[in-house]
Amino acid sequence: MVTFDVDYFRDLETPRLARLAPNLVAAAFPLMKLMPARFILDRAAANGELKAGSHIVETTSGTFGMAVALLAAARGYRLTLVTASTLIDARYKARLERIGATVIALDDPRGDGNQPGRLERLQEILVKEPDGFWTRQYDSPGNWLAYARLAELFIRALGKVDCLVGCVGTGGSLCGTASFLRSVFPHLTVFAVDTHRSILFGQPVGKRMLRGLGNSVLPKNVRHQLVDEIHWVGAYPAYRTAHRLLREHGLFMGPTSGAAALVARWVATTLPDAQVAVIMPDEGHRHVETVYNNEWLGGLPGWPCKEISEPRTLTTIAPAAETQWTRFLWLRRSLDDVLKAQAAGEVPSAVGAAENL
C-alpha cells in the first residue's frame, strides 16, 4: 500500500536496513540528524516555543545543521548556524546558504572550535530575537527521545536485539536507541564508538582527524551508564571500512559509519549467536574529495595502513595513533566512577561482553 505521509520528512529521515552478515543489520541513514531535528521542531511547535516564522539558532557546522536547514526551508523558519572558521569548509557553507541558512563562521585562533565564542554569539542573537529558538542538540531531551523510532524500526525488522553498536557525538542516537531497546531487552549490550582524543569517554582533548565523531565538550545527552564497551577508532581504519562497505555491500557511507561498521563486524563475529544492530549516520557524498579520493588518501602519512581485524583492549584509558583501534570495558559506569577508578590505578578485568557471552 502506498500512502503519502502528511510530513514527508518522516520518509526522508528513515534509514535503509541492510543485512551485512547473518547476525548483523545496519541502519544506513541518508541523513540521520533529520530524526532528532524533526522531533525537536515538532515538539517546540506543539508547545508554542516555536512560532510561525521563528528564528532558529544552533552552534553546529555538521549534519544537524544541514537537517535543521532543510526543515527550516520547508517550514518557513529563519535559521542561523554559528560555527568556527576551522570547522567548516567553503563548499558545505555554500550548501547551507543555498538552502537559506545564515552561517556565521567565527575566528578560531586557538584551533579548538571556539565553543565559548559560538555560545556567546548565539546568546546575542537570542537576546535580540523574542521569537528565537535554540534547538540545543547537545542537551535537549528531544535529541534522544526521537530515536524511539529507530528502536521501533530495528524491532519490526529484527525482533530481539542483543547488541547495539553506534557512534557518539552528542550521545543522542546511541543513548536514545539504547535506552528504548533496553526497556524491552534488559540484556542489551551497548558498544559505543568514539575516536582518539575525543573527551567523551575520558581521553584528554586533542586534534581529531575523524570529523563528525567524538567531541571536545561533553553534551548532557551522553549517558555513560548505558554503555558496556567503548571503542576508539582512528581515522585510517574508519576510512578503510567505509571503502569496504562500498565494495562489499554497495553502501556509500561516511567514515563515521565506517568506524561503526568496523566495531559491529567484530561484535557480530565474536558473538555469532547474538543479533547485532549498528547505526550508520550518514552517506559518503560529503567525503568524495577526501575519503573517496585516492590522491587525497595518498597524501596521508602511512597510507595505506594494514587492515585491523580486532581492537587492542586497554586497561588504562589513553589516546592512540589514527591507525589504531582500541577498546575499554566501561561496564555501565558513570564517567566520574571510571575516572576515579583510573586515578586510583585500579586495573579493570579485561573480560567484557565479548568474552562472556
Binding site: D5, R43, P141, L145, A151, L153, I155, R156, F180, V184
Partner: protein, 312 residues
C-alpha cells in the same frame, strides 16, 4: 396482493429474534498513547481476549419505539441496541435480554462484552451483518470508552475513546497460556471514576516501541516478544495505577520462565503469559499457580488464548 405481501413481511419482521455473544478479555497486552499516520496522538490499547467467559444477548424486535433491557440496570447495552437500530435505519424497538458470566469491575470488559453482544444481537435480528469496525464504533458511542473485543481474537491497536483502529496487526495473537489473578485483594475498580493517565514524553515514545513489539509478535507468532511488550506496558502502568504485589508476580514470572506479565490497565487483573507450546507447561503452570496463591493473590485462574482445542 401487494398489501398482503407487505403485511406478511411486517409480521415476519415483528417476530424476528437475534441472538449473539461477545467474549471477555483479561485486560490489555499494552495500553498507552500512540501516534497515527499524521503524527497525532491517540489513547489506544491491545486487548487480550479470553473466550472462556462470555456475555450472551438476545434481541426480539417490537413495533414500539422503546428498547427494554433485562436485567434493567444494563443501560449501556440498551443504548447500544438503540444506536444499532438507528445506524441500520430500522424503525421500532425491542426487548433485549442479557446473560453474562463475566465478573464486573476487575478489567474483564464485562460492560463492553454486554454492549458488543447487544449490537450483534440487534444486527442478527434484522439480518444485516456488521463489520467489526462498525460494531466497535457503535460500542464506543454507547459507552464512551470501549475495548477492542468487537474484533474478537484479531489483534488491533484500538483507540478506545474514538472507536477507531490505529494499527491493524493483520492476524491473531499467538497461542498462549495465561495464569491470571486479582491484585489489591480482589476489590473491584470503578473504571469510569479513574482519570485518564497522563504519560510523559519518554513513556509516549516507549509506547511506539511496544507497538512495534506487538506487530512483530503477531506477524511471527512470537509469544516471547509479546510477553516482553506486555511486561513493559505493565511497568509503565504501575506508575499510574499501581497494583500491590506486582513486583512479586513479576519475579515469579521471571523464575518460571514466563514470556511476561500483563495487567488490566484500569482493573485489578494480573496475568502471567506463557507460550502454549512450551515444554512441561502443565507442571510449571501448576507450580506457578501455587506460588501466586501463597503470595496472597485472589482467584487464580488458567485461561487459554487461541488454543484451537490444544489439550495442554
Amino acid at each position: 396482493m401487494a398489501e398482503a405481501g407487505n403485511l406478511m413481511s411486517r409480521a415476519a419482521l415483528r417476530s424476528s429474534v437475534g441472538t449473539a455473544m461477545a467474549i471477555a478479555h483479561h485486560g490489555e497486552l499494552i495500553q498507552g498513547v500512540f501516534k497515527d499516520n499524521d503524527g497525532r496522538l491517540h489513547r489506544g490499547l491491545v486487548t487480550l481476549p479470553i473466550t472462556g467467559l462470555r456475555s450472551e444477548a438476545s434481541f426480539a424486535r417490537s413495533d414500539g419505539d422503546a428498547v427494554v433491557v433485562h436485567p434493567d440496570h444494563k443501560a449501556k447495552a440498551s443504548a447500544a441496541a438503540r444506536l444499532t437500530l438507528d445506524f441500520l435505519n430500522v424503525a421500532g424497538g425491542g426487548e433485549l435480554t442479557l446473560e453474562s458470566a463475566i465478573p464486573v469491575g476487575h478489567g474483564y470488559g464485562s460492560s463492553t462484552a454486554d454492549v458488543v453482544a447487544s449490537i450483534r444481537a440487534v444486527a442478527a435480528a434484522v439480518d444485516i451483518p456488521l463489520r467489526p469496525s462498525s460494531i466497535a464504533r457503535l460500542a464506543v458511542a454507547a459507552e464512551r470508552a470501549s475495548d477492542a473485543i468487537a474484533f474478537d481474537e484479531h489483534a488491533v491497536l484500538f483507540a478506545q475513546r474514538e472507536g477507531t483502529v490505529i494499527e491493524n496487526f493483520g492476524g491473531s495473537l499467538p497461542p498462549l497460556l495465561l495464569i491470571g489473578c486479582k491484585a489489591n485483594g480482589g476489590i473491584p475498580v470503578d473504571t469510569l471514576q479513574l482519570p485518564p493517565a497522563r504519560y510523559d514524553s519518554a513513556e509516549i515514545q516507549e509506547f511506539g516501541v511496544l507497538r512495534a513489539m506487538v506487530a512483530r509478535a503477531v506477524r511471527l507468532q512470537d509469544p516471547y516478544l509479546l510477553g516482553r511488550a506486555a511486561s513493559a506496558s505493565a511497568v509503565i502502568s504501575q506508575r499510574h495505577l499501581p497494583k500491590h504485589g506486582f513486583e512479586e508476580v513479576a519475579e515469579i514470572a521471571r523464575r518460571a520462565g514466563a514470556c511476561g506479565v500483563q495487567v488490566a490497565h484500569s482493573g485489578s487483573l494480573l496475568g502471567l503469559i506463557f507460550d502454549l507450546f512450551a515444554s512441561n507447561l502443565k507442571r510449571r503452570a501448576a507450580l506457578v499457580a501455587q506460588q501466586i496463591r501463597r503470595a496472597g493473590f485472589k482467584d487464580v485462574e488458567v485461561h487459554l488464548v487461541n488454543a484451537e482445542g490444544w489439550t495442554w
